[in-house]
Symmetry: C2
Subunit: 378 residues, 2 copies
């Protein structure tokens, strides 16, 4: 195998693929990165068996030559050293060769690295997903869907299914839902007409977090295809494959109250600042609990009390308060997590009493929803 | 106690003082921050008994009012919460009051924090240093002295005296020296005529690191005074007091070779990049060792070899090589540490054979010196 490649393209590609490589894996060869050279381009592959990432660098693209002097072949390189080596190479041109003894040489300027490679034949074959049954959404929308839901997955392995985000696609609507049973985050977007339908595909939160890190915030589309146990996200130069969680995702729609007794309209940023301050004293012994009380004249009072440390209270003018008076306690962390991902100026919060879950939505977008269970404090 | 203060001034001051406060201290009240209000201004104090920091905010300065409505008094506040509270206050004006029950109230805009304080009478008195016997140097020079030496102190408690930087002042020359017995860093600067003289004051490396973080990179002067067991660094609004280490600092001048057999002139940045690359494969099993070999035609070869991982070699054109041929091995970490703090374009390196310490100096400044012991590899 032999090729000469532009360093900066290689750096980006290596960085993406590294996100799937773990130094702790049961299959030793998966601590390495597979490099495959074909006349049409170079493919890098990394996998921890939960997630697999392939990054492709075409030899030529838009009339620009990225890779030259290609002799086809493949090799697996120790991923521990390769990214730092590539990043610190002195020149833009990088020549990589592998000989029949699996010796890999990386040359750039006057620097020459010689590394012990491993046989690419020993690297596991990634499952080939049939991509006829696929649908597309813009990358920036997919990133929003992930950001607005994935934080609410459970971090506890006691109910493994809740560590994933539930995806469903029907009637040209794609929905992401996550819950750890104390809160729930859900977002729905329209997708262009597609023949694909599925009611519940649960993708590990970790996979979606890594995918979100790799994807650029562009309007280019991502093609998504699903089989029994794998989901593939495909962009122009990237294949991101994740396993799907086994098990039935709980029915969540019945958790969402249909009526409300108190309705708040409030500026998101004001509420974030206020809750953030109140949470300062609530961090440890109080499990982050803050209390919200409605007052006359469109005033909210946000308070927190830790007998050992002290007390904080703040009055906040809001856009409107309708319905019954309310005193409710909740986790400031859950509230801040929810408010921070909404990316809207103003939210509407529907309460149905101090002991019932409440729902936060953007004032102008009912397709996004954050539900939080209150905390019983008195 | 009561006063109203500008939030941003308070944030800076609290941040400085926090550098002396540790949550792990044998004296519980030292986990707190002392606040003292006098008509002329506010003083914040923090201490971990090794380091004490006082930051002063004058009530008025250059015609600008910083603090208003002062009622004199003092209190000690839990340092764990105070910095975050101050940083997140909603308005620029902050009112702080303490009542006779040691209840502290912090008000800004519509936010109100109520905290339990502690009696300032219980806070240890800082030693008052007599400052007649003092000398001054510009802050930026002091910061350079610290940066260029403190990294070479020992991190091992086996010889506690080596965890400090040795300061000496004689014939209007101030010298900082640090060594961990594998390397030595030394820098000398002239100081304006001063009556103060001392041959060896050893200041803990940790103290100097904290001092360096607090001091701004200005040309304003720092006043330094020394007693038997304390050293005080004083700027306009800051008192930084550190204990001095007990014991005799070793005589280091005899370690520095007076002759050399091979002399290199090399661009600092080129050498850094090259050693940095060579060190990539030398990290673990090889204890960071790289090898330098002189070649004909002003060429250096930098290599490193880790049988398990691979080999790296690079040729580097240098300004000049004079004297005997040389093959020498050393710690790439020590070499990079030394080169990175020198802040000069070109360095001169004097070698006296593969088994003897070598000395790195700026080409145009013999007052700065970095000495490194080689590693025996064959």
């Amino acid at each position: 195998m032999k090729f000469t490649i532009q360093r900066d393209l290689l750096i980006d590609s290596v960085q993406d693929v590294m996100k799937a490589i773990s130094s702790r894996t049961a299959i030793p060869i998966l601590t390495g990165m597979k490099i495959e050279a074909r006349q049409h381009g170079i493919t890098l592959t990394g996998s921890d068996s939960d997630i697999s990432i392939e990054s492709y660098i075409p030899a030529e693209e838009d009339g620009i030559v990225n890779v030259e002097d290609i002799e086809e072949g493949s090799i697996v390189l120790q991923a521990k050293y390769f990214p730092d080596i590539v990043r610190k190479l002195p020149e833009q041109h990088v020549e990589i060769t592998a000989d029949e003894n699996l010796k890999v040489t990386i040359r750039s300027g006057k620097a020459e690295f010689s590394l012990n490679g491993q046989d690419a034949e020993e690297y596991p074959q990634l499952p080939k997903l049939q991509t006829d049954d696929s649908f597309e959404i813009p990358t920036d929308i997919l990133k929003s869907l992930i950001k607005q839901t994935v934080f609410a997955v459970s971090s506890m392995e006691t109910r493994p299914i809740l560590t994933g985000v539930n995806l469903s696609l029907s009637e040209s609507k794609l929905t992401f839902t996550a819950t750890d049973s104390h809160r729930l985050a859900s977002r729905e977007v329209p997708v262009s007409s597609s023949s694909v339908q599925f009611s519940s595909i649960v993708v590990p939160g970790k996979s979606l977090n890594e995918l979100n890190k790799i994807l650029d915030d562009t309007e280019e589309t991502v093609e998504i295809s699903v089989t029994n146990n794998q989901i593939l996200f495909r962009t122009k130069h990237l294949n991101f494959l994740s396993r799907i969680l086994d098990g039935n995702y709980p029915e969540t729609s019945r958790l969402i109250p249909e009526q409300s007794k108190t309705v708040l309209h409030v500026k998101t940023r004001d509420l974030i600042s206020s809750i953030d301050r109140a949470s300062l004293l609530a961090r440890e012994e109080r499990n982050n609990v803050v209390k919200l009380t409605t007052k006359d004249g469109n005033i909210l009072e946000i308070t927190s009390n830790s007998p050992e440390i002290g007390h904080v209270s703040e009055e906040l003018s809001v856009q409107s308060i309708e319905g019954e008076e309310l005193k409710i306690s909740f986790s400031s962390k859950y509230m801040l997590d929810a408010l921070k991902v909404m990316e809207v100026d103003e939210v509407k919060i529907d309460f149905t009493g101090a002991m019932r879950p409440f729902v936060i939505r953007p004032v102008d977008n009912p397709a996004m929803l954050q539900l939080i269970l209150p905390v019983r404090t008195y």
